[in-house]
Symmetry: D2
Subunit: 345 residues, 4 copies
C-alpha cells in the first residue's frame, strides 16, 4: 500500500462486520478443551461457569466490558447476549457504548486498517486509528453533537449514566435507528447499561458542549448514583454472576457492589460466579489483571466458581459466548428488567 | 509461614515504607542507558522528555496515575513531584487517591504480604490483599465513613471530583492529618486532582451512604464537569506534557482534553510531550497499551517528543522521576496553581 | 481439594485427551474473523496464509514447535498435520518430542492438575508439574532409560538429532507402540524432526547415561549437522513456508536456513510464507517475540505473506490448523519425504 | 528521519556503549525497594538472594543468558560478573556469545537504530535489525567465517560447545583481541560457557561451512557432552545458585543438571538459590515463564531462596548486578575454575 497517495475515501473502504453467535457452533471444540491444558482448559471452564449462571434460576448476570470490543466486530455477540436474556446488566467503558455502538447506530461504520499506517497522515485526513481499525473523525463529531442534543433535551438535574444511556436508547427507538444497536436493544429489554467514567469518551465531548452552552441550567452526571443503582441490581438478585471482558473500571465497579450492599446494611452474598477474559498480568499489582482469588479476600467474589482466561477477547469471547448460546440454558430465562430496579433506586 | 495459624495482628506487621526521591540519584545509571537498547534506552528518552517538559517555560505537566501505585510505596515519589512543582494537575484512579493516600493520611498503613496467602482465610480475618500487600478492611471502612462525613458537610449540589478532593485536602489540613499526603499537598499547592471514575473506590462507598441517608438533598458528582475543568487546564497552558503511569481512564481522559478544547472553539495544540510507563501491550487494541503514535492520529499527542517505556512502575517510575528530580529543571518552575483555573471553569 | 491428604494415585487420575482436527470445523468462525479486528483478524490472515502454503505446488512447509504443546493436548493436531501432508519438516524443542510424545508412545499419560497444587508435596510424591498438568516422574525415568537403550544400540558416531529421532520412530514401529505418536508417524511419512537443543530434555538424560557408560565408544549428537540437514531441506524446495508455534530455538533455527544456504553458495529465496502463534512481546528485543518484519531485515522472511497472531497456542492452533484441515488444500499435496533429503546431506 | 535517503554509513553511526557496574551504585534505591511492593520488592529480594549465593563458601553460581543481552549494552555487566568471581559457569543462547560478544571482540559494533525503520530497505543495505539496534551484515559474515576457520584448526572429533568456546577465547587471546570480551575473560578466568543450541547462531553458519568443506574429517558438536559437563559442574559444588536472565534453553539446561546428577548415581542437592529476571508469563505453560516453584516439583530448585522478577533485563539486570557488585560479597570469593572440572569430564 503506498500510504502517501491514499485519500480518505481510499482508506475507509472495507467496514468491520459483526460476528453473530448463530453463525457458528463452537461446542465440539470447547467441549474438547475440557481435556486439554492451559488456556484451552480455562476457557472451557469459564464457558461452563457461564452456563451455570444462566441455568440457575434467579441468578443475575452482570457483563463488564473494557477494551475496544464493539469496534472490533463483537457488537453482535454482545447484542445476542442482550436479546436472548443472557445478561441482565452491563457495566462498560464509555467508548464501547457511545463512540462505537451508538456511533454505528447513527449509521456510521468502522473500517479495516493497519497498525502500520502513518498516524500523522491519518491525522491530516481526519481519520482516527484503533490499532488496525479506522474511524472517520468527522462522523465521530456528529456522534458528539448528537449526545449534546440529547442532553439539551433533558430536564436539568443529576443523572446516572444508566439514565442517560436509556435516553440514548429512546432517541434511537424514536427515530428507528440502530436495528443492531446494543444501546437500543438494552433499552428495549430493560437491561441497564452503566458507564461509570462516562465523560471518558464521545459522551464527554457532547456533555461538555451542553454544559458550556447552558451554564447553571444544565444536566449533570452523578457517578455516585451509578454505583447506588448497580448496588440495587445486586440486591435484587438472590445470586449474581460476573462475566468480565477485560478489566479496568467496569471490573472494579461490578465487584464493588457487594461491599456497597453491605455498607447499606444488606447482607448481600459475594458474586457466586465470576469469569474474566483478559490479557492483563497479575504481576504489576493493578486491578485489571488481579486474580479473582484476590477479589475473594475483599469479600467480593466467591472462589468456588471463578475462572480467568488469558487471551484476547476477539478470539475468546466468541468461543465462550457461542458455547453458552448453543448450549441453550438461556431459553428458560426471563427478562429480569433490572433497569426498572435502577429507576426505583 | 504456617498460614492457618496466623492472626490478623501477625499478618499486618511490617508496613510499606515510601521511597523518597532525595534518597537516591539514578542519573549515572539513567544517563548510561542512552547508549543501550530496548527499555533501558526508552527509559532514558522518557526521562529526558520529562526534563524537557519541566525546562520549558509555561508548559503544564499533567500526571496520570493508574494501578495500585500509592499502596506500593510510590506515595512519596508522587508527593515529591507535587511539592517541587514538577506536576501541575493529576488525573488518577480513585483507589490511589482515596483508598490509599487519603487512607494513609487518616493514620492507617499498608502492610507487606504475599500473593501466596490464602484469600479465603484473609477474608475471614477482614484483610484485603493487593497482590503482595495487605490492608485492614476495618480501617478501610473508617475511610469510607470519613468520605461520607465530608460529603455530609457539603452544600447539596453537583461537584467535580476535583472539588470533592479539595474538600478532602481541607479536611486533612484542618485536622493537621496527612503530613505526607498527596491529597493534602496538592490542595496546598493548588494542584487539581481529578478522579473521573470517582465512585470506583472507597469514595463510592462513602458517597452512596451519603446519598442514601439524604435523599433529595444530597451532593452529587458531576463527571462531565471534571472533563470541562481539565479542558480549562489544557487551555490555560501554552503547551502541555503528559506523564502517564499506567493507562486506563486517566490516560484517556487527559489525552481527550485536546479534542474537547477544539469542540469548545479553542485551537488548542496537541500535547507537546507525552510519556507513558506501562506493561500493557498494544496487540489487544485496548487504550491502555495503545501507542502514543496512535493517539496522534486522533490529534491528541504530537509525535516529536513521545516515548513509552515497557516496565512495571515500582521500578521505572523511581528511575524516571529520580532522574528529573536530580536533574533539577524544576528549580526554576513556579506553582501554576491550576486548581484556581478549575474553580473558575 | 485437601491437598495434604491426596496420594499419587488420587492426583494422577484424569488424563489429558488430545483434540482431533476432524472433530470440529472452525471455518464459519475463522471466516467471519476476516471482517473483525485485532487478533481475530490476524488469526484469519494467518490461517489463510497457511492455506496458501499448502495450495502452492512444491512449497515446503516447516513447522516449528516451542512450549509444552504435546502435553497440553495438541498431540493429535500435530499428528493430523503430519499424516495429511500438511507439514514437511518439524523443528521442535526436545520436550515436545521426547518427554511428551515419545513418552506417551511408551504408554504413559499426562494428567489434569492445577497450578495451585503444593509443589513441595508434588516433589515428595515424584509428580512433576507443567502449569496445570501432572506427570509421573517414575514414568519419565523409564522414558530416559529407553532413550539410553536406543543410543546403546546405535553405531558410535556423530548423529544429527533428526537421525536419532528416526531411530526413536523405528523403535516404536518395531514394537508397534505409539499408534498416535508424532515421532512414529513422522518416521513413517518421511517427515524429518529436528531438536537443535536435543540434550535439553529427557533425551539429554538418556544420552548422558549412554555416554558415561561407554566412554570412548559412544554415539554423539552433532548439532551442526542438524543445521546442515535443515538447510538441505530448504534448498530442496523451490519455496518454503514457516508455521511457527511459539518462538525460541526452533523459530531461530528454521529462519536461519536461508542464510546458511546462501553461505553454501546457493541463492535460496527467503521463506515465502511465515506465520507465528505467540504470546511473546517484541519490546524486550528477544527473538521469540521479534516481528517477522524484523526477520526480513536479516533476509530470512519475505514480508508479503507474513502474519503473527498473539494468543496462547492451545486456543489459536486448533483454530488455525482446523481451518486449513477443513479447507482441504492438503488433499492435492504429496509426501515430500524430506527425511530422505536429509539422509543424503 | 527520511528513511528512504539514508545510506548504510548514515544508519550505522552511533554505537551501543556498554554499561559498567562501577559507574553507578544502586544500593540506596534497591535497599528502599525492600519496603515497597510488586516488582520492586521482588527485585530487592532477588538481589539479596544473589548476595547470599556469593557470600556462601563453596556455592557455585551458574548464570544463564537468553535474549539479546550483549547487543543491548549489557556486555560489560556480564564481564564484570566474570572478572570479579561473581559467576562460575555460564549457559547462554549462541547469539549472545558468538554473534554479539565474539563479534564485538573482532572489532565490530552494534548501532543505535529504531523499530520504525523499514526492514525491506535495511535488507537492501545489508543491515540486520534487533528491535532498536542495527548490525552490519557484512561484518557478521566475517564473524561466521572466523568461526569456520577456528573449526578448521581443530582436530576432527566431537566437541562440547564449552570446548569450542574456549577455542574462541584462545583465538582472541593469541591475537590480543577483545579486551572487553566475555568469551576471552571467561577463558582466562576458567569460567566455562555452554551454548546447548550452539548451531542456532553465527556459529552454526561457520560450522556448516566447515563441515561441508571437510566431509568425513570435520569436527562435530556434541550437545550431550555439554549436558554431561554442566552436570559435573553441579556435582563439583556443595551447593549451587542459579542467576537466570530470561528463560529458554539455558534456563531448562541449567535446572536439569540436578536430575542428570541423580541419574548418574550422585545425590546432588537441588539448586539452593534461584533467581530469574523475565518478562514471560506462566499462563501459556511454557518453560520460560514457569515459576521456580514449578521447578521444585521436578526436584530442580529448592523453594526457600527463589525469586522471579518480572521486568526487562536492560533495566533489571543492572540494578540486580550493580547491587551485588557494590555489596561486595564477591571480594572473598575465589576463582572456582570450573572449566577445569569440565575438561576432566
Amino acid at each position: 500500500m503506498d500510504k502517501t497517495s491514499l485519500t480518505k475515501a481510499e482508506l475507509l473502504v472495507t467496514p468491520i462486520e459483526h460476528l453473530e453467535l448463530k453463525a457458528f457452533d463452537p461446542r465440539p471444540l470447547v467441549d474438547a478443551m475440557a481435556h486439554m491444558a492451559f488456556q484451552a482448559r480455562n476457557l472451557n471452564r469459564a464457558a461452563r461457569i457461564y452456563g451455570m449462571m444462566l441455568a440457575e434460576p434467579g441468578c443475575g448476570v452482570i457483563l463488564t466490558l473494557a477494551g475496544s470490543l464493539v469496534s472490533a466486530g463483537l457488537k453482535h455477540v454482545i447484542l445476542d447476549l442482550v436479546r436472548n436474556n443472557m445478561v441482565d446488566a452491563i457495566v462498560s467503558t464509555g467508548a464501547n457504548i457511545v463512540d462505537q455502538d451508538f456511533f454505528e447506530a447513527l449509521g456510521f461504520r468502522h473500517y479495516l486498517g493497519s497498525p502500520a499506517l502513518d498516524d500523522n497522515q491519518l491525522r491530516d485526513l481526519a481519520i482516527d486509528r484503533i490499532y488496525d481499525t479506522l474511524i472517520d473523525e468527522d462522523q465521530l463529531r456528529v456522534c458528539d453533537q448528537t449526545i449534546g442534543r440529547i442532553a439539551d433535551g433533558l430536564e436539568p438535574r443529576p443523572y446516572s449514566s444508566r439514565e442517560f444511556i436509556e435516553a440514548m436508547g429512546r432517541y434511537l427507538q424514536e427515530r428507528d435507528l440502530g436495528a443492531d444497536s446494543i444501546v437500543r436493544a438494552a433499552f428495549e429489554k430493560g437491561v441497564p447499561i452503566f458507564c461509570p467514567a462516562f465523560s471518558d469518551c464521545s459522551a464527554g465531548f457532547g456533555l461538555v458542549m451542553h454544559q458550556v452552552a447552558r451554564p447553571g441550567r444544565c444536566m449533570t452526571l452523578d457517578s455516585a448514583r451509578d454505583f447506588l443503582e448497580l448496588t440495587r441490581v445486586k440486591l435484587a438478585c438472590p445470586d449474581t454472576g460476573l462475566l468480565m471482558v477485560g478489566g479496568g473500571v467496569p471490573k472494579n465497579f461490578a465487584q464493588d457492589t457487594v461491599v456497597a450492599a453491605e455498607l447499606l446494611g444488606h447482607a448481600a452474598p459475594m458474586h457466586k460466579y465470576a469469569i474474566q477474559l483478559t490479557v492483563a498480568d497479575e504481576r504489576d499489582g493493578a486491578l485489571s489483571g488481579s486474580t479473582l482469588k484476590e477479589a475473594s479476600s475483599w469479600g467480593k467474589v466467591a472462589t468456588t466458581h471463578e475462572q480467568m482466561d488469558y487471551g484476547e477477547a476477539t478470539i475468546t469471547l466468541p468461543l465462550l459466548a457461542g458455547y453458552a448460546y448453543h448450549q441453550g440454558h438461556w431459553t428458560g430465562r426471563k427478562e429480569l428488567r433490572m433497569a426498572e430496579v435502577c429507576a426505583r433506586a
